[in-house]
Amino acid sequence: MSILNIFFLVAAIGVSGYFLGRARAKNVSGGDLSKLHSLPGYAGAYVFLWATIPSVLFLAAWLMAAPFMLENTVRTGFPQTEQDTSENNQNLSMGMVRSLAGGLREFSVDERLGLPKIFEEIGPKLNERGIVLGSNGQDFMIDAAYTLIALQDKSRFWLTVIAITTSFIGAVWALSRIAIRLRARNQVETIILAGLIAASSIAVLSTIGIFLSMVAESGRFFASVPPMEFLFGTVWDPRFAAADNPGATGQFGLIPLLAGTIYIALVAMIVAVPIGLFAAIYMAEYASSRTRAIVKPLLEVLAGIPTIVYGFFALVTVGPLLRDISAQIAGIATGDGASFIQAQSVLTAGLVMGVMLIPFVSSLSDDVITQVPASMREGSLGLGATRSETMVRVLLPAALPGIVGALLLTGSRAIGETMIVVLAAGVAARLTLNPFEPMTTVTVKIVNQLTGDLEFTSPQTLVAFALGMTLFFITLGLNVYALYIVRKYREQYE
């Protein structure tokens, strides 16, 4: 029976267990539900959980352990000549056995009897069914494959029997336990709690996992490039090895990338913060509830646009526009029509990224401002303050920590942004103060270093992980600081 079918069968036992359990609980209550410790629904859920969880856990454990055990058994049956070869060689042979077994499964049991037992002859037969094998097989592998198939079938049979029996026993046992005083509710709640904890630990564990994988790869990078050269180098020139220059290592200076990242993020924040804040103030204080209901979702639509779309908006519209305007200004001022803003520049990327960030600033700030207790607002208005005085002197100061938190979150988004920069500011790693020239950011270079046909052995590719670590620490720092401020804010009115 296939795994999916076993799963459905167990689920079916569980669901019928639920209804039986519920009915039984109603039955033992004698019609007076208030006598029960837990409502019938809980008794049903109790039976359902007993019918499914042990069985599914068993299923999972078996599926993880079985292939190793089976293959080990098959491997001990390999002829002595094979057993004397290296571990790697045996692994390769086992792989061949596995694909042979997979191929043989395409034939019915009767057909298998008619198949030849010689590798060179069985290959074409399998080919007829669309299965392609490697050419380095040996005859003993065919026997091994049959052994494997037999073991797999046996394993699957017992798996089916045990999983379903477990489910059934669980259901029956749980049903037999149902009584007036059974604390089904507490047990069900405990299981739900365990599920919730598992869900939240997955988020934490994956963060740790991502971090550890970066640490390992960065370590390999720093083995070939000294950390000081990376952190304080001012030249980014990761030459890839080429035919005429096979030993090229290049220079991996972080500074131009970091400068570009911070510069572009800064321009973006200069655009996004005032506009976003004013929009938030308008929505929180001045807009009627009808206007607010229309404007706020519209503004939030901006946040839903994929950043690559902003990127080509920058590339085909904003960049050329800025270039042409600057050419005209230059023409009027000096008579020389050379544009001083390049189409791809820090300014273009900053402007467009700023527009992208407006909804983040406005939406988060609006939430923070409206969270300030209404009594503050009324207190101020009741003293004869105007709406703008109330906003500037009471609401904004009260909301300030929350707004700062919102800005820091927005800032870490600006630092992590990639697609807009690629299209709007280019990929040239340059160190300049002129916002009208192209620069590039850490994220862009990560993409740059990791695209193409690469192996993760040279510093040219491994540097991506070091860059990733740098970004990770910058955004982590910003986020932790934002959380700290937001938490401080929570205590304000208590």
């Binding site: 009627s288 509830s289 207790p373 009594s375 503050m376 607002r377 009324e378 207190g379 101020s380 208005l381 009741g382 003293l383 004869g384 303050a385 105007t386 005085e389 002197r393 009471v394 100061p397 009260a398 304000q492 009115y493």
Partner: protein
């Protein structure tokens, strides 16, 4: 913190150092209030006398708070609220087009049910109103206003050493007196109080009630209260609201001893409410 030393010499400022503006009367005629389609008040006619404490009593939802908030147009901040009729402050219609609502609220101060000090220092809380209305020309002026307001609210002695601490660090009763000081600092003519003692313990309540009685000398006070004892203790006039109607109004003593309307009697004896 440096404020502490500065204020020490000012402790002896007399209670009524600055001449408070004269108190004035309020007159309401045929006031109707609607929240959307729902009518909350029906044809309210009420006179509030100068230098008197008028208490508005009645069961929850009877419209007494709504009426109170009509008198400084705080209901304007609610989108769906509509007020008709006429309310005059010293003969001037506060709903007329010539009235600047900001100016009105400076003349008619308000103290809310829950103490709502701003998350600023005690000093800044009281200085807030004078600052926005430009009542103080110098720093000394401002300090004088803050000190006298705190004195009038009976809070100065308790907080004089910690004027720079946040207003939210005070106890509930102190916070409410801080809010009263904040309202007084704007030098209003009328003070509206919306259940000012409902969040306070009996001791703090007694202090605030005593304060209300003192403030009567200089201000016209309207107070909404759920406590009939409080109404009896602090007010000279009482108005009884029921289901959006003004049932009866008159001297407090009369309302509580020989009310004309049977509904009033039922309420004060605890049979409806």
């Amino acid at each position: 913190m440096q404020m502490n030393t500065k204020f020490k010499p000012l402790e002896n400022v007399p209670l009524n150092a600055d001449p408070s503006p004269r108190a004035i009367s309020i007159c309401a005629e045929k006031v109707n209030v609607f929240y959307g389609e729902k009518q909350a008040l029906f044809d309210i006619d009420l006179n509030v006398g100068a230098n008197e404490v008028t208490s508005l009593i009645g069961p929850s939802g009877c419209g007494k708070s709504t009426f109170l908030r009509c008198m400084n147009r705080m209901n304007d901040t609610i989108d769906t609220c509509r007020v008709s009729g006429k309310i005059t402050l010293d003969g001037e219609d506060i709903y007329s087009r010539d009235i600047d609502v900001v100016e009105l609220r400076a003349r008619v101060g308000m103290v809310f049910q829950k103490p709502n000090p701003f998350p600023k220092s005690i000093f800044e809380n009281v200085a807030y109103g004078p600052r926005i209305h430009g009542l103080a020309h110098t720093k000394t002026d401002l300090e004088r206003i803050v000190v006298t307001s705190l004195q009038k609210a009976g809070l100065f002695e308790e907080v004089k050493d910690r004027l720079q601490q946040p207003g939210t660090s005070l106890s509930g009763g102190q916070q409410q007196r801080l809010c009263i000081a904040r309202a007084i600092a704007v030098q209003p003519e009328v003070i509206l109080m919306d259940e000012p003692c409902s969040a306070l313990d009996p001791i703090a309540t007694a202090i605030v009630e005593e304060l209300i009685d003192e403030l009567r000398q200089n201000y016209t006070i309207v107070i909404v209260t759920h406590s009939m004892q409080q109404a009896a203790r602090v007010s000279q006039q009482t108005a009884f609201f029921h289901l959006g109607n003004l049932v009866e109004t008159g001297p407090t003593e009369k309302i509580f001893t020989t009310p004309d309307d049977p509904r009033t009697e039922s309420y004060i004896t605890g049979r409806i409410g």
